[in-house]
């Protein structure tokens, strides 16, 4: 029985929806299958306590390209921002918080003078790397002219920085952010806040090599994106707008449809089989699921070669990031913080050593006694997320090991207390406002969002899992060893964050392939 679909997209995460929308706009008949009851994958807004709603994972929009917003007409399809641009503030226990937009009096005169130039230079380096995010990476060792010209273009992007900036890029790209921050500034609070952005979402402390790369990646992703914003209705509103845009382009989206496996016919992905046994055929299958789930779960090792399976099973994808949601009876009070800052992004990373010390226990199966985190109180700008007069607090917390020695059941409440205590060091009255709390550990994220390992980026962003080797050689250009099967999720280049470029790049690859 032929369904008539050109492509099936497995998973309605933001990348899956972006991919589907572009495929449909490219003329394909597309079906998106989502296991959950609603679209969005991990990019959803959901109720965690009666009347309190919050973005389940990522809670800010700072990587979604302006071009993608325009091309998919997301504003017309309902995307609104509740707050933009948002301030970023590095919290300080003594109330001398640092506004990262203009550190001014909170840091030394030298730091204040250096900061603007430093960030401008870093953003310039990142801007020259940006084009690499927008296309499929070249294939190593291949003699195709397309791949060669891609490499040449990347080399030209770097060379066109000019001698001084090119040297600087090559000097710092393999460094750790600890050294770079220490070399550049004297303020502990400034150093810590900058390093936090470099390690956010990754399995590394600031002393780990490659943490400048992850920072440049973040800055490159932000280049060309809209200014940091809080979507009205939480991050789920982005997914809803993407789904509306996809539907308008002709995409069919089925929720509550869990794909059990990829249907193979004549060594080709020819459709999918759902959990209830329903078979849906299609010309190609594009997986928004993470690489391990895609290859070892949905496809099966028997359809792959051992060397490839070996690479996929070595793909580092254990999450180290947790999420805490608090339902509050009133607005949290952070002494020394003004209203604009409270409505923005708050960073708890008072020094480089603070983050490194937070990371250290995870190497031995423990969690951070004093975690680093990114906090937002989204209900300030978006009152609809909580009952009148009440608030939600959303914190991205590092570091939470995937498998603590004692098991999460034994340490969950202890870890949650540590996080709340840490926030309470900056907001002393916090505890008396707490009505309800929810902690999502990496295994919780794995279970709820079907992400093997519970890693936000579907896999660690590091030199060995980056660009032309992401997720692994043999699957780094959205195509896989199995014809008709493609990747479009965060496990593919350019990786995680609510960015959508993996979905767009994948769609372009598929359209080029079938053209």
């Amino acid at each position: 029985m032929s369904s008539g679909y050109d492509s099936i997209v497995i998973g309605a995460g933001h990348n899956g929806l972006v991919c589907a929308a572009y495929l449909a706009r490219g003329g394909q008949k597309v079906l998106v299958l989502e296991a959950a009851a609603h679209v969005g994958g991990a990019a959803i807004t959901r109720e965690f306590a009666p009347g309190f709603r919050v973005s389940a994972c990522a809670h800010l929009l700072h990587m979604l390209p302006r071009a993608l917003v325009d091309e998919l007409a997301l504003v017309r399809h309902g995307l609104q921002v509740a707050s933009q641009p948002m301030a970023s503030t590095a919290l300080s226990a003594d109330g001398a918080h640092i506004n990262l937009g203009s550190p001014g009096a909170a840091v030394s005169v030298e730091d204040a003078a250096a900061y603007g130039k430093f960030m401008a230079r870093l953003r310039k380096l990142a801007a020259h790397l940006r084009p690499a995010l927008e296309a499929a990476p070249p294939r190593l060792g291949m003699s195709s002219w397309g791949d060669r010209s891609m490499l040449l273009r990347l080399a030209w992007q770097v060379r066109s920085l000019g001698r001084a900036d090119m040297y600087e890029l090559l000097r710092i790209i393999g460094m750790n952010v600890y050294d770079l921050a220490e070399d550049s500034f004297s303020s502990d609070g400034l150093r810590g806040a900058l390093a936090f952005d470099a390690v956010l979402g990754s399995n590394a402390g600031p002393r780990a090599p490659g943490t400048v790369l992850t920072w440049l990646y973040r800055l490159a992703a932000e280049h060309g994106a809209t200014a940091m914003a809080q979507p009205a209705g939480g991050i789920g509103a982005v997914s809803d707008a993407l789904a509306a845009s996809a539907r308008a382009a002709g995409v069919t989206i089925r929720t509550g449809a869990r794909v059990a496996r990829v249907l193979m016919r004549n060594d080709r992905a020819a459709g999918v089989v759902l959990g209830d046994g329903e078979t849906i055929e299609a010309g190609g299958v594009i997986s928004n699921a993470d690489p391990r789930t895609t290859f070892l779960g949905l496809l099966g090792a028997e359809h792959l070669d051992t060397g490839f399976v070996r690479r996929i099973s070595h793909f580092r994808a254990k999450g180290l990031t947790a999420k805490l949601h608090l339902a509050l009876s009133g607005a949290p009070e952070f002494p020394g913080l003004d209203a604009a800052a409270l409505a923005g992004r708050l960073i708890v990373a008072p020094s480089l050593d603070y983050i490194e010390n937070a990371f250290n226990p995870t190497k031995y199966g423990g969690f951070s006694a004093a975690p680093a985190m990114e906090i937002v109180v989204p209900s300030i700008a978006d009152a609809g997320l909580a009952p009148a007069g009440q608030h939600v607090l959303s914190a991205i917390v590092q570091y939470a090991p995937y498998a603590p020695n004692a098991g999460w059941d034994a340490v969950r409440s202890d870890f949650q207390d540590r996080i709340i205590d840490t926030i309470a060091a900056y907001a002393p009255a916090l505890r008396q406002h707490i009505i309800a709390a929810e902690l999502l550990t990496p295994p919780d994220i794995e279970r709820e969002f079907n992400i093997s390992g519970g890693h936000w980026h579907h896999g660690e962003l590091a030199f060995d899992q980056f660009y032309m080797v992401r997720p692994v050689p043999g699957a780094a250009q959205y195509e896989t060893p199995v014809s008709g099967l493609y990747l479009c999720g965060a496990g593919a280049h350019p990786g995680g964050g609510v960015m959508g470029l993996a979905g767009r790049n994948a769609a372009r690859r598929v359209l080029k392939k079938v053209a």
Partner: protein
């Protein structure tokens, strides 16, 4: 994995096989060589005597160091079928299949034999240890893999009188074993597994036993063969007969794709002349997609048999398209003067298109005569393998005189 290896293994870099005391006692020239972690006999007396025992009477070879893996579990057949190039679903219980297995690029990792001992029990015999590859290949399959090299003692009994010797030993009905059959026998309380397999291209058997019974069976076989010229042989004689049989040897005729550094030194089954082992229709297996692509283009080189004029073995000879040696087209990997065939034979890797049957190419042979080197250019013709294939290797019931 057994997990029971004594921790003092490093004190003894080379292990004795269960037949070591007998090997040591019968060795007249004290020539031992390391093989897969064991000390084994290279030559007992003279290589000529041992060679002729294989072809004319009966030879006994200690096969224990051959690496053996036991593969069990519900997915055993599916697992092996994905691992190797042959169709394992066609392999019936108590049968043996020779096969190769490849990496993702369709390049040969190793060759070996699969013994199907039951519906879900297999023994994989390999040249090199490769537990890592086998375990990684098991991801997604319900199988257990254990190296059992140390727990199975093995002998190879090869030659025209080998069946007689086994019958004399008391293995009633052994002559009805067809090539690649496996059968269990018992001598009193001692169990013996016999397969009609070997590396000689002759009538012969491989015998698998408990290491505790090793010396008993050695002595009993030597006794049973005393009227039929039985003779223990070392690896040198085996290397001669395997060339006559056209069998390739890892690290001599090809290098495992797991250990090459240069990509162009990997070899595909097509290049090794083993297309008959590759079932592209059986479903997916390691390297299939790469092999399909190679099949479309055709191999760029091929392992062939050569018949070389003269009687000087063409060891490591370079091969040329022309007598003037202007265009090199390949090289010899194994060579010998075959006493049985009375031919100067070789196995060689030859570039396209010079590997076609009946084609003449030229071998540059170096000879050392009393420390004076001479160079001979000899005509070499691409010929069919095996070079030696007597009827008795296949005839069932087997010769038992």
């Amino acid at each position: 994995m057994s997990g029971t290896q004594p921790l003092s293994h490093f004190r003894q870099p080379l292990l004795p096989t269960p037949f070591h005391a007998r090997n040591r006692a019968l060795s007249q020239v004290d020539r031992f060589v390391p093989w897969a972690g064991y000390t084994t006999v290279d030559v007992f007396t003279t290589v000529e005597q041992e060679y002729f025992a294989v072809r004319n009477t009966c030879s006994l070879f200690d096969l224990t160091p051959m690496v053996k893996y036991r593969i069990t579990g519900a997915d055993g057949e599916r697992y092996l079928n994905r691992l190797v190039t042959r169709n394992v679903t066609k392999l019936k219980p108590n049968r043996v299949a020779y096969t190769v297995w490849c990496d993702d690029a369709g390049h040969v990792i190793d060759d070996g034999t699969i013994f199907r001992l039951g519906a879900a029990e297999f023994l994989l015999c390999t040249a090199e240890r490769q537990l890592n590859w086998l375990l990684d290949s098991a991801i997604g399959f319900d199988v257990a893999i254990a190296e059992v090299t140390e727990t199975i003692a093995a002998l190879s009994l090869q030659g025209p009188t080998s069946c007689f010797v086994l019958k004399t030993l008391g293995l009633t009905g052994v002559e009805t074993l067809k090539p690649f059959d496996i059968r269990q026998f018992a001598l009193g309380a001692r169990k013996l597994t016999v397969s009609r397999t070997g590396f000689t291209g002759d009538l012969g058997y491989e015998l698998w036993m408990n290491p505790n019974d090793a010396e008993f069976f050695w002595d009993a076989l030597m006794q049973a063969g005393s009227t039929r010229g039985i003779r223990p042989i070392g690896s040198q004689a085996l290397d001669m007969v395997r060339i006559e049989a056209g069998f390739i040897m890892p690290n001599l005729d090809f290098v495992s794709a797991e250990s090459t550094v240069h990509l162009d030194r990997d070899r595909s089954p097509f290049e090794l002349g083993l297309a008959w082992l590759v079932d592209l229709e059986k479903g997916h297996f390691n390297g299939r997609r790469a092999l399909l692509a190679e099949k479309r283009c055709g191999p760029v080189r091929r392992l062939v048999g050569l018949d070389i004029e003269g009687n000087k073995p063409a060891h490591h000879a370079l091969l040329y398209a022309d007598r003037a040696c202007r265009k090199q087209v390949g090289a010899v990997s194994s060579a010998m003067w075959s006493p049985t065939c009375k031919r100067n034979i070789a196995l060689a890797m030859v570039d396209m298109p010079y590997f076609s049957m009946g084609r003449d190419i030229w071998a540059e042979i170096y000879l050392c005569r009393e420390l004076v080197w001479e160079r001979r250019i000899a005509r070499a013709r691409v010929v069919e393998k095996p070079f030696f294939a007597p009827e008795r290797r296949k005839v069932t019931p087997a010769w038992d005189r």
